[in-house]
C-alpha cells in the first residue's frame, strides 16, 4: 500500500513542498494532558498541582502515577460533587476552602497550579479568576497559576505545554540591551539537563536558563535577546508565548541520537558565534560515545519495520532517529498533533515511503497496523498487550516520556528501549 493511496480528502497540503499527511478523526486512544503532572511535579520541586475535576480525573492520575502516588506526592484532585454542580454551594468558595486547607497542610509549597479538567471546562468554572483571587490572598508566600490539562483540549504531553505556557508571563523581563542568552525549553530529567548545561558551558555559552526551572519560583528572565531551543517537540503554545515576549527560536533537530543532539547544539553554537573548530572539539567525545553506544543495538534493529501510534508527539523525531541512525524502516508515523515548522527538519529526514498520520481513528489505524505487520509497534498500554497477543511485538510509548532519552549519553539507552522487546521476543522459548 503506497502512502498516497491512504490519503483522504482533507489531507491536502497547504504548500506543495510539504509531504502528505494522513489526517484522521475518530476514536482516540490517548491520555489527556493531566498526565503531564506526573513528571512535571518531579521537575518543579516547590510546585503543587491541584486538579479541579471529577473522580475520573483522580482515578486517571492514580493509574498513571502507579506507586508514586504514595510518596506524599505534590498533586491532588479537588473532586467536584453533586452539590458543586447543582449550585448548592459556590464552586469558587469551595475552591478557596480546598486551597486553604491544602496550603495549611503543605507550607513548603511555593507555586500552586490549578489545573483545569474536562468537567471544570464544560461547566466553565473560571480557574483563571480563581487563580487571580487566590493569588492575591496568598502572595508572596505562594504564587497561584492555572492551565488546562483537560482531554477535550490537550493530549498527553500537551499538558506540559499548557503548564509551561502559563509560566511564561511570570518570567522576569530582560532589558532589550541585555546580552544574548539561551533558554532550554521543555522539562528534562535533571541528569540530562546537567549534561547539556556542561556542554553549553564548554562551548562558551554562559547565560543559559531552563524552562521549567527546578524551582518554579526561580524562573529565568526573557527578552528580545533570548534565543531558545526546544528540547521537546510538543511545545507549540509555549513557543508562541515565548515569541510574544520577544524570544527567538533556534531551528534544529530535536536532541535524540548523535545526529539530533549535534544539530541541536550546533544551532545554539551558531547563534552564539562559537568557533566551528571549537564546537567540533567540544562535542566530539560525546558524539563518538553516542555512536558507539547506538551501534550495540544496530544489528538488532537495522532493516526492521516500525510503526508509531499517536501518543506524545515524540513520534516524528524518534522515527527520524531510528531511520537515520539505526537504519530502521518507518512504516507509519502517527502523532496526535504535528507542528509543521517545529518538525520541518525532522520530516525531511524521514524516508518518503513512511506514512505520516496526524490524529487518530483507532480502529482504522489498527487495521492498518495488522495489514502492515511491522516488526515493532510503538503504542500505549491499552493496546500493547492486545497487539502482542495478536503476534505483533510492541514497545509501550509512555516509557519514552519518563526515561532519560535526550542527548549524547542517553542515545544508547534510547536505542536499547526499541531493541529490547525484539530481543525478548527472540529469547523466549515458551
Amino acid at each position: 500500500m503506497s502512502a498516497a493511496s491512504t490519503l483522504t480528502g482533507c489531507a491536502t497540503p497547504s504548500e506543495t513542498a510539504q509531504r502528505p499527511v494522513l489526517r484522521e478523526r475518530g476514536q482516540r486512544e490517548v491520555f489527556c494532558g493531566l498526565t503531564g503532572i506526573v513528571w512535571l511535579h518531579r521537575k518543579m520541586q516547590d510546585a503543587f498541582f491541584l486538579v479541579v475535576g471529577s473522580r475520573t480525573c483522580a482515578h486517571l492520575l492514580q493509574s498513571a502515577a502507579g506507586v508514586m502516588i504514595f510518596a506524599e506526592p505534590r498533586f491532588a484532585t479537588a473532586i467536584m460533587e453533586e452539590r458543586d454542580l447543582a449550585g448548592m454551594v459556590d464552586c469558587q468558595d469551595e475552591l478557596d476552602r480546598v486551597v486553604g486547607r491544602l496550603l495549611e497542610r503543605r507550607p513548603d509549597i511555593k507555586t500552586l497550579f490549578l489545573v483545569g479538567s474536562c468537567p471544570s471546562e464544560v461547566i466553565k468554572l473560571d480557574l483563571a479568576k480563581a487563580a487571580e483571587r487566590l493569588g492575591a490572598q496568598h502572595m508572596p508566600a505562594v504564587r497561584i497559576l492555572n492551565y488546562s490539562g483537560s482531554g477535550i483540549e490537550t493530549t498527553f504531553t500537551q499538558g506540559e505545554d499548557a503548564c509551561l505556557a502559563a509560566l511564561v508571563p511570570e518570567m522576569p523581563a530582560a532589558s532589550p540591551d541585555a546580552p544574548q542568552d539561551l533558554l532550554i525549553v521543555g522539562s528534562l530529567p535533571d541528569i540530562v539537563e546537567d549534561q547539556f548545561l556542561r556542554l553549553f558551558a564548554q562551548l562558551g555559552i554562559e547565560r543559559v536558563g531552563c524552562l521549567p526551572a527546578r524551582n518554579a519560583r526561580d524562573l529565568p528572565s526573557i527578552g528580545p535577546n533570548t534565543r531558545y531551543l526546544l528540547a521537546q517537540p510538543f511545545l507549540a503554545e509555549t513557543a508562541m508565548a515565548l515569541e510574544t515576549r520577544g524570544a527567538q527560536r533556534l531551528d534544529a533537530l530535536f536532541p535524540f541520537g548523535a545526529e539530533g543532539t549535534t544539530s541541536w547544539l550546533k544551532a545554539a553554537a551558531d547563534a552564539f558565534d562559537v568557533d566551528e573548530m571549537h564546537f567540533n572539539r567540544v562535542i566530539a567525545p560525546g558524539r563518538e560515545r553516542a555512536k558507539r553506544a547506538i551501534s550495540h543495538a544496530k544489528a538488532q534493529l537495522e532493516g526492521k519495520r516500525i510503526s508509531f501510534l499517536p501518543d506524545s508527539q515524540l513520534e516524528v523525531p524518534l522515527a527520524r532517529f531510528l531511520a537515520t541512525e539505526l537504519d530502521m524502516v518507518p512504516v507509519e508515523v502517527g502523532t496526535p498533533y504535528l507542528h509543521r515548522s517545529h518538525c520541518a527538519q525532522e520530516l525531511d529526514l524521514i524516508p518518503p515511503s513512511a506514512r505520516i498520520s496526524e490524529g487518530q481513528d483507532v480502529e482504522r489505524q489498527l487495521d492498518r497496523v495488522r495489514a502492515d505487520k511491522p516488526d515493532l509497534t510503538v503504542c500505549g498500554l491499552g493496546l500493547a498487550n492486545p497487539l502482542e497477543s495478536e503476534g505483533l511485538s510492541t514497545k509501550w510509548a509512555i516509557e519514552l516520556v519518563f526515561s532519560p532519552i535526550h542527548g549524547f549519553d542517553q542515545a544508547g539507552d534510547l536505542a536499547e528501549l526499541f531493541a529490547r522487546p525484539l530481543r525478548r521476543r527472540d529469547v523466549l522459548e515458551v
Binding site: C32, S54, T56, I79, E82, L85, G151, G382
Partner: protein, 522 residues
C-alpha cells in the same frame, strides 16, 4: 469539593467497563472525552488481559462541543455495532458527557441498531465504581432475561444454580470461581450460568432457568439477585465462602436449597488451615492485634477468619464502600470495635496509627500505609495492583482459599519475627538500629513535614511517630525503650505515656516503664 490524592474506587463508568469486559459479545459505547481511554490499561495491564476491553469511546474534543456531539455518539454506536457485531450493547455517559446532557438512551433508541442497546444512568458525581458495576449488571439482567423461561419440575433432575458476581478486575474472582465450581460439583449442583464473567447476552436470557442464585460478590451482584428473587422466585445464597467456617456454612446453605447431601463437600479435606493454625508454631499468633480494611464483603470475612480461625484480636474494622456499611457496622459491634466507614485514606492512616496493630489486612493503599508505619501487612481486597492478579491459582474462597489466606497473612508476620530477631541482636554486631527493617529498607519513613528534598536516608526517624516530644522521659528510660523491637516501640511509648499521665507521674523513668508494661500485660 473533596480533596483527594488516592481513591479506593474509580468512577461508576469504570464499574460498567468491568461488567462489559467480563462478558463476551457485549459492547459498551461510552460517551466520553478524549483521555478517558486511560481505563483500558487497568484491564490490559493490571489484569493482563490479552484483548482490548469491548468499549468504544466517542472521544469528543473541545471543538466538537459547539457542534453536534450527539451525532458523534451515534456514529460511534453505529460503527461499533457494524465492526463488533455484538449480541447487545450498553450505552452511557462518563462524568463529562453527563454534563453536556446528550442523552445516550434516547439517541440509541432513535437509531434502530441491529442489537438491543441497554441505556445506563450512572450518576458520576454521586456514585462510584462498585455501584456502577452493580447497576450495569442489574440493567443487563433486567433487560435481557427472558421472562417466559419456565423451570422444569425438580423431580428427577439435578438442582441448577446461577453464580453471580465474578467480574473483570475482581480480586481473585477467576480462582474463586474454580473453587465454587468444585463445591457445586461435589454437591451435584449444576451451574446454569456464571455472570457477568464469561457470559454472553444470549446466556443471560436463560438466567431464569436456575433454581437459585449464588451471590458471590454482593457489591456487584446483589442488586440483580434481588430483582431475580422477585421476578423468577429464585432464592439467593448470600453467605460468602471465605474462610473454613464460612465455607462450611456456604456448603450447608447450598445443600439445603439444592436438597443435596452436604457430606461429600464438607468432607473435602483439602483444607490444611485448621491444622496449620493449631500447630505449635502458630501459638505466637494468639491475640495479635489486626486492623482490617477493604471492601465490606472481604473485610467482614477477614475479621471472622482473623478471630475464629487464626486467634487474632480484631482491633479495627472498616470499609470504603458506603453501600455495604451496615454489614461492617454489625460485624464491628460483634468485635467490640468502632466501625470505620470512609473513603479517605488519610482517615484510614490515622485510624491505623491510633490502633497500633501488629498486622494490617487491607488494600493496596493499606499496604503502603503499613510500609510507612513499618507494620506487617497482607492484601485482602480490591483495589489491588498487578501483583495481586497472579499467574498461580490463588483463590480466597473455599478450602483452598483458606490455605492461601493462611500463607498470605502469616508470611509478613514471619518476616516480622525475623525482624524482631535481627533487632534483638542489633547490639551484638552489625545489625544497627539505623539499618532499619531489611525488607523495606528503600522506604525508610521520613519526617511528616518532609518533601522530595528531605530524602536524607542517613538520618532515619522512629518508624512510629512519638506521641509527644519525649521530654518527660529520662535518658535511661529512653535508652531502654530503644531496646524494644521497632514495630511495637510506638505502642509501648504511647502506652507508657498514657499510663504516666493517668498515674500523675511527671517523669518516665525505668520504674514507670516497667510499671506500665505490667499494667498493660495481657
Amino acid at each position: 469539593m473533596q480533596l483527594s490524592v488516592w481513591t479506593y474506587e474509580g468512577p461508576p463508568h469504570v464499574g460498567a467497563m468491568r461488567v462489559a469486559t467480563a462478558m463476551e459479545k457485549l459492547h459498551y459505547v461510552l460517551h466520553a472525552p478524549q483521555g478517558d481511554t486511560y481505563a483500558d490499561l487497568l484491564f490490559t495491564m493490571i489484569e493482563r488481559r490479552a484483548k482490548r476491553p469491548p468499549v468504544t469511546y466517542t472521544t469528543f474534543e473541545a471543538r466538537d462541543l459547539g457542534k453536534d456531539t450527539a451525532e458523534l455518539f451515534q456514529t460511534a454506536a453505529r460503527e461499533a455495532a457494524e465492526r463488533f457485531e455484538p449480541q447487545a450493547m450498553i450505552v452511557g455517559a462518563s462524568c463529562t458527557a453527563e454534563l453536556i446532557q446528550d442523552d445516550p438512551a434516547g439517541l440509541s433508541e432513535a437509531m434502530d441498531l441491529p442489537c438491543p442497546a441497554i441505556p445506563l444512568e450512572l450518576p458520576s458525581y454521586q456514585r462510584k465504581e462498585n455501584w456502577g458495576a452493580a447497576e450495569t449488571f442489574y440493567q443487563i439482567v433486567r433487560s435481557l432475561a427472558d421472562k417466559k423461561v419456565v423451570r422444569l419440575d425438580r423431580e428427577g433432575r439435578a438442582a441448577r444454580a446461577n453464580i453471580l458476581g465474578p467480574c473483570a478486575l475482581g480480586f481473585r474472582h477467576r480462582d474463586d470461581l474454580v473453587e465454587i465450581r468444585k463445591i457445586l460439583g461435589a454437591l451435584g449442583v449444576e451451574v446454569n450460568l456464571v455472570a457477568p464473567l464469561g457470559a454472553t447476552p444470549q446466556d443471560i436470557t436463560q438466567i431464569g432457568a436456575a433454581d437459585f442464585n449464588i451471590v458471590l460478590y454482593p457489591e456487584i451482584a446483589d442488586e440483580a439477585a434481588r430483582w431475580l428473587e422477585k421476578t423468577f422466585d429464585q432464592p439467593a445464597i448470600r453467605s460468602i465462602p471465605i474462610g473454613v467456617g464460612a465455607t462450611s456454612a456456604f456448603i450447608t446453605d447450598v445443600a439445603e436449597l439444592a436438597g443435596a447431601d452436604p457430606t461429600p463437600a464438607l468432607g473435602d479435606n483439602h483444607s490444611r488451615m485448621p491444622w496449620w493454625s493449631r500447630s505449635v508454631d502458630s501459638t505466637y499468633l494468639t491475640g495479635k492485634r489486626v486492623f482490617i480494611f477493604g471492601d465490606a464483603t472481604h473485610a467482614v470475612a477477614a475479621a471472622r477468619i482473623a478471630r475464629d480461625e487464626l486467634g487474632f484480636e480484631v482491633c479495627g474494622l472498616g470499609c470504603y464502600n458506603r453501600e455495604f456499611a451496615r454489614e461492617v457496622r454489625a460485624a464491628a459491634k460483634e468485635y467490640g470495635v468502632e466501625p470505620l466507614i470512609t473513603d479517605d485514606h488519610l482517615a484510614v492512616e490515622e485510624a491505623i496509627a491510633a490502633a497500633s496493630p501488629e498486622l494490617v489486612l487491607g488494600t493496596q493503599m493499606e499496604r503502603h500505609i503499613a510500609k510507612r508505619l513499618g507494620l506487617p501487612c497482607a492484601v485482602i481486597s480490591s483495589p489491588v495492583h498487578v501483583q495481586d492478579f497472579p499467574a498461580r491459582h490463588s483463590p480466597q474462597m473455599g478450602f483452598e482459599g483458606a490455605n492461601v489466606i493462611f500463607d498470605t497473612w502469616v508470611h509478613p508476620l514471619v518476616m516480622g519475627l525475623e525482624e524482631h530477631l535481627l533487632t534483638m541482636f542489633r547490639e551484638d554486631f552489625e545489625f544497627s538500629d539505623e539499618a532499619g527493617p531489611s525488607h523495606h529498607a528503600a522506604h525508610t519513613p521520613r519526617s511528616s513535614t518532609g518533601s522530595a528534598q528531605s530524602a536524607n536516608a542517613d538520618r532515619p526517624e522512629e518508624p512510629i511517630v512519638a506521641a509527644n516530644d519525649g521530654s518527660i522521659w529520662t535518658s535511661e528510660a529512653e535508652r531502654e525503650l530503644k531496646k524494644i523491637p521497632f514495630f511495637v516501640r510506638g505502642k509501648a511509648r504511647r502506652n507508657t505515656e498514657a499510663f504516666a499521665l493517668d498515674q500523675g507521674r511527671a517523669e518516665i523513668d525505668l520504674e514507670t516503664l516497667y510499671d506500665a508494661k505490667a499494667h498493660y500485660a495481657r
